[in-house]
């Protein structure tokens, strides 16, 4: 069990050339909290995640456990949307052991840690397979194990289930819920799937569409886990978030001139 770290985002913005991608983002994430960043595509939610990961320099300040982020670090694990992030020349076991090997953890300890986390994500039976031999869902499990084995206090997930089919996605969502509770880490999870956010998050942060993307609304969800989409409270929440995002999507479409085109037709 790891202790989660707090993440605090202060006046964060990003300007590339004359394009203001995002601006004035303030968000405090509690240690051990599960926060979903939700918004239409191009709203900068992945950019914000990359900033926390240390891949992207931004204006303002990002503190993890009170310390400013300067580049990528082991305290923050990243699960990418594309399973191309796995190393195809390494087996699942070797992929998971990768981080430990870099830190020269001895072989026996590495082996048992890898097996523990591969079991946690339910991939024990495929531990010696190569990524190319696995389905999309299994590869994302492998990615999650590879990150968790380093026991990061913050796990950053960039639409990790976005490329999966609906059934696999549902299974992995409920497993992530279980894994999150068993590890105690902080999770920042980017998605554009409203149901996914409602099922998983303590708080859902809805972002406005870019340019000058920022936080639109923060919904606190205090329903018990596992959550049921048929629960009226979930339904009401869904309708509210959908309207918030719907407004943003309409704004984007109008800016792109797509709504007028539809009307003309």
């Amino acid at each position: 069990m790891v202790r989660g770290s707090s993440v605090s985002i202060k006046r964060v913005g990003l300007t590339i050339g004359t394009n203001e991608i995002m601006a004035g983002i303030d968000l405090d994430i509690r240690a051990g909290e599960f926060v979903c960043l939700l918004g239409p595509s191009g709203c900068g939610k992945s950019t914000l995640l990359n900033a926390i990961a240390g891949f992207q320099d931004v204006a303002g300040e990002i503190l993890v456990d009170g310390k400013p982020v300067k580049g990528p670090g082991l305290d923050r694990g990243v699960v990418f949307q594309s399973s191309e992030a796995l190393f195809p020349w390494l087996s699942v076991r070797e992929n998971v052991e990768y981080g430990l090997k870099l830190r020269r953890v001895d072989a026996a300890e590495r082996r048992s840690a890898a097996e523990r986390y591969v079991s946690l994500v339910g991939l024990k039976h495929a531990i010696d397979k190569f990524p190319g031999e696995l389905s999309g869902g299994m590869r994302q499990r492998a990615q999650i194990a590879r990150v968790l084995v380093n026991e990061p206090s913050v796990v950053l997930m960039d639409e990790p289930f976005g490329a999966l089919d609906a059934q696999t996605r549902e299974v992995l969502q409920s497993e992530l819920d279980r894994i999150w509770k068993s590890t105690g880490c902080t999770i920042v999870f980017v998605t554009h799937d409203i149901w996914e956010a409602i099922l998983l998050a303590d708080r859902v942060v809805t972002m406005t569409a870019g340019p000058r993307a920022s936080i639109k609304v923060i919904e606190k969800i205090e329903l018990p886990h596992p959550r049921d989409p048929a629960d009226p409270a979930c339904m009401a929440l869904y309708a509210r978030i959908r309207d918030d995002i719907g407004a943003e999507v309409t704004r984007v479409l109008r800016a792109q001139g797509l709504i007028e085109e539809e009307l003309v037709k």
């Binding site: 082991l74 990243v78 594309s82 992030a85 190393f87 020349w89 390494l90 990768y98 981080g99 380093n150």
Partner: protein, 275 residues
């Protein structure tokens, strides 16, 4: 009822009888490309033999005359010695070229400054064929082994370097991010992500370079060597033995094919997970 049993029975019994022909047919299908190649080779030899019957052996020696010449050159040990001499030079020069070309390509691909420093030279020299350097190589390195090995090294190193650079630049950026977030330093990213990702490109470069090494070794040996397949082809002139030229040419082709096969099988076995 009887009609039914009559129609179903043979059908049920047949699979056992059918297994053999169908698996045989499958094997025939697999062997097809091989048979076609054999037919092509035998046909080519027949054409060669036919054409040689209408010309003088000095112009075009027949298949049988070439075969006899090969046996003659084998019996006095010339052919074996030539093969060994040429192979040795190729392996030494090619091996050194791969050993230098790979790290050079990695560094040039990864570090902008190294690439910018060396790029003008790479771009300049890659248009100059090794034959252009034969005379210089002999003047600088002497008529011995070193000059020939250096020329093969020269021809190899460019191809391997350029291919490796292309490989480094084709590394999926997501994997670099993943590695750095898993705690890899810049040096560790180089050795654990970039190097393995680049292997298919290195292998391609090494294989093309092997072909070019054969081209280079012949020209180098023609200019200055007492032994080797190039030398054999060249000295045949002094004895008016065109069939020796043919023996040399056929041996070069077969040797090249063999080297490429060995290289392919070895890389497939040893580097399987990276390909």
């Amino acid at each position: 009822m009887t009609q039914l049993t009559q129609t179903t029975n043979p059908a049920e019994n047949q699979p056992a009888a059918f297994v053999n022909p169908s698996s045989q047919r499958k094997r025939m299908k697999e062997m097809r490309p091989f048979f076609i190649s054999v037919v092509a080779i035998v046909g080519g030899l027949l054409l060669w033999q036919l054409a040689s019957m209408y010309t003088s052996p000095l112009f075009l020696p027949s298949v049988s005359l070439t075969w006899a010449a090969a046996l003659e050159l084998i019996s006095d040990g010339t052919l074996q010695q030539s093969i060994l001499a040429s192979s040795g030079r190729i392996l030494a020069g090619w091996g050194a070229g791969v050993l230098i070309g790979v790290p050079l390509g990695i560094f040039m691909g990864r570090f902008e400054l190294v690439r910018q420093l060396l790029d003008p030279y790479i771009e300049f020299f890659r248009f100059i064929p090794p034959i252009a350097f034969v005379t210089l190589a002999v003047i600088w390195l002497g008529p011995g082994e070193l000059s020939k090995i250096a020329l093969i090294f020269y021809t190899t190193v460019f191809i391997v370097t350029l291919n490796t650079i292309a490989g480094v630049q084709a590394v999926i950026p997501l994997r670099l991010r993943a590695a750095s977030s898993l705690g890899a330093s810049q040096w560790q990213i180089l050795t654990t992500v970039i190097l393995p990702s680049t292997v298919p490109f290195m292998v391609t470069g090494a294989r093309i370079a092997m072909g070019n090494s054969f081209l280079t070794v012949v020209s180098a040996e023609i200019v200055s060597a007492r032994e080797g397949l190039g030398a054999l082809i060249w000295t045949a002139r002094n004895f008016s033995r065109t069939e020796w030229v043919f023996v040399g040419i056929v041996t070069l082709g077969l040797l090249g094919y063999l080297f490429d096969r060995v290289l392919r099988i070895a890389t497939k076995k040893l580097l399987k997970r990276y390909l």
